[in-house]
Amino acid sequence: MTTQVTDPSAADANIVVDRIRVSVPERGLRHDLRAVGIVWRRELIRFRTDRLRAITALVQPFLFLFILGTGLSRLAGGSLPHSADFDFKTFIYPGVLAMSVLFTAIFSAGSIVWDREFGFLREILVAPVSRASIVIGKCLGGATIATFQGVIFLCLAWFAHVPYNPVLILSLIGMLLLLSFTLTAFGVMMAARIKQFQAFMALTQMLIMPLFFLSGALYPLNGLPTWLTVLTRLDPLTYVVGPMRHIVFTHLSLPPQLSAEISARLAPSITWGGWVVPLWLSLGIVAVMGLAMMSVAIGEFSKTE
């Protein structure tokens, strides 16, 4: 050390030096939780400093809601019941809300590929913490920022005639959080295998649109041909968009008779061969899928060259 012991602060520094000895970190849950916490916090810090990303991620749902939503409402007008009281934008709003978290969640997982290319992943992987805590931190981080993105979009609910009802808003946030978590887990699972950022982008772009289109975000899920019905039931997004639309429709301030008619025609329950999938199972499927993909990711990251 080059510090001279002339002023008190330098003397302080020396005391610090004396206190430090070789330290072997304690192994334990608390240490792993700290790791989860810091990986999560890093996502938030990076999201905060990257405003451009937050804005661009909102452009696409914005276009879908206002341009496509307004345009299609003229086409869909005739088939909607009492079209004067009901806006097509209200119908697609839950689906577009899901879309607002889709990109952010998957691309936040993509930063793993980025980290690998720029070396930071090595700093993470050589740390004496369980691989699980790294992956969990990452999934929670992506879920948090994606949900935050969804909350911004939730502020635009008024334009789609969706009321700002606290129960409704909190339920929607809860479902967005669940969806974001599963999507991030999906992204992390992919990122564990894919070594190049371009490849990751291309592959996720390829998968995002089918996920979105099959979720019933833009059309009701009843009366579809069998092959399409089967595909929609395989899409995890379906099991969040359905419940979200259902809860939005039950909070609309419409005459009861109209409300019942709309719910029946436009927000039918998800069925498996005629059997109605209950809400808890619907959301449970999403949660289990997320956890399963997260486990695969943990396994992938535990491998060594």
Binding site: V22, G37, F118, V126, P128, T304
Partner: protein, 374 residues
Amino acid sequence: MPESNAASLAARHLTGLADPRSREAAAVAAQADARPDGRPLDGGSASDAVISVSGLVKRYGDVEAVRGIDFEVTRGETFGFLGPNGAGKTTTIKILCTLANATAGSALVAGYNSATSRDAVRRNIGLVFQDTTLDTYLTAEQNLRFHAEMYGVPKAAVLPRMRQVMDMVGLWDRKDSLVSTFSGGMQRRLEIARGLLHAPRVLFLDEPTVGLDPQTRSSIWAYINDLKQREDITIFLTTHYMDEAENCDRIAIIDHGKIVAIDTPEALKASVGKDRVQIQTADDAGAIRALADTFGLDAAMHDGAITFSVASGEEFVPRLFGELSIPIRSVSVSRPSLDDVFMSYTGTTIRDAEGGAGNEFMRNMHKMRSGGRR
């Protein structure tokens, strides 16, 4: 060396009894003992080796990066791997640090097998990689804080320790700047600070001072030497700088994936045996002839002076003045450098070897592109 090691060991045990944290650490170590693959940490076993490597081999497809190496590093030692780029230094470090699996052979770090007890090894080591591993979108402080949390540095110690290591590399006043605004040298310094942040038992430095200015290099070495005095730390480093290798207690010279020599810098230089003598005379051609005739020496002109090697230069100089008839204007005697050592063991200078390694690398790249990996 062994005596001071024993003393520091005893000191550790004494402080260990007084300090509850050390006791916890000992409990953790004891727990690890119960594992079938783990070996005791402070067991006072026959060898005092912190790193012990035997028969290590690593193959990447057809390329054999490490071809069977054995060595031990003692507690408290600064051990250097000296060799050209592509000699297998980084591959060895990667295996020791649990980032790669060996094809054959074993490596024990701090008493744990680096292949089977990865977490235990990771808890005992600090790492500074050759390539940058900083998050350039975070500030310097955020990078260090990330590291502190990942390595479980006690919360109260995080801030003073961060300040200490950043002061050491002269970056404390830039702690709130984004790392992306740092120059290459500053990033390197920050990484070294980060490697020391959690006070590891073994510190691995892969080419630690590549691309740094001489001033920073020497201040980093001053810190490393100071660290050795103060703490029970073992340092393992790779380098292709000869002057840097001089700082090590022991050096292994590695070439083409094999260790060709392993000893203290002094012993290695002594093993070359001969000092280099350079003289300037009134009649150089005549002097070269006279040296051959009188002493049987093979002298040649290098750097504008007659240059030759003899066993002990200082004793030879008086004889030279007495017996050489041609007037001598100046004499210089120099001890063999590590350059000479490297030359004598590998038959080439490190710079030439690097050129060769480069060609080999290009050939392999070409092979991989044209023939596929498997």
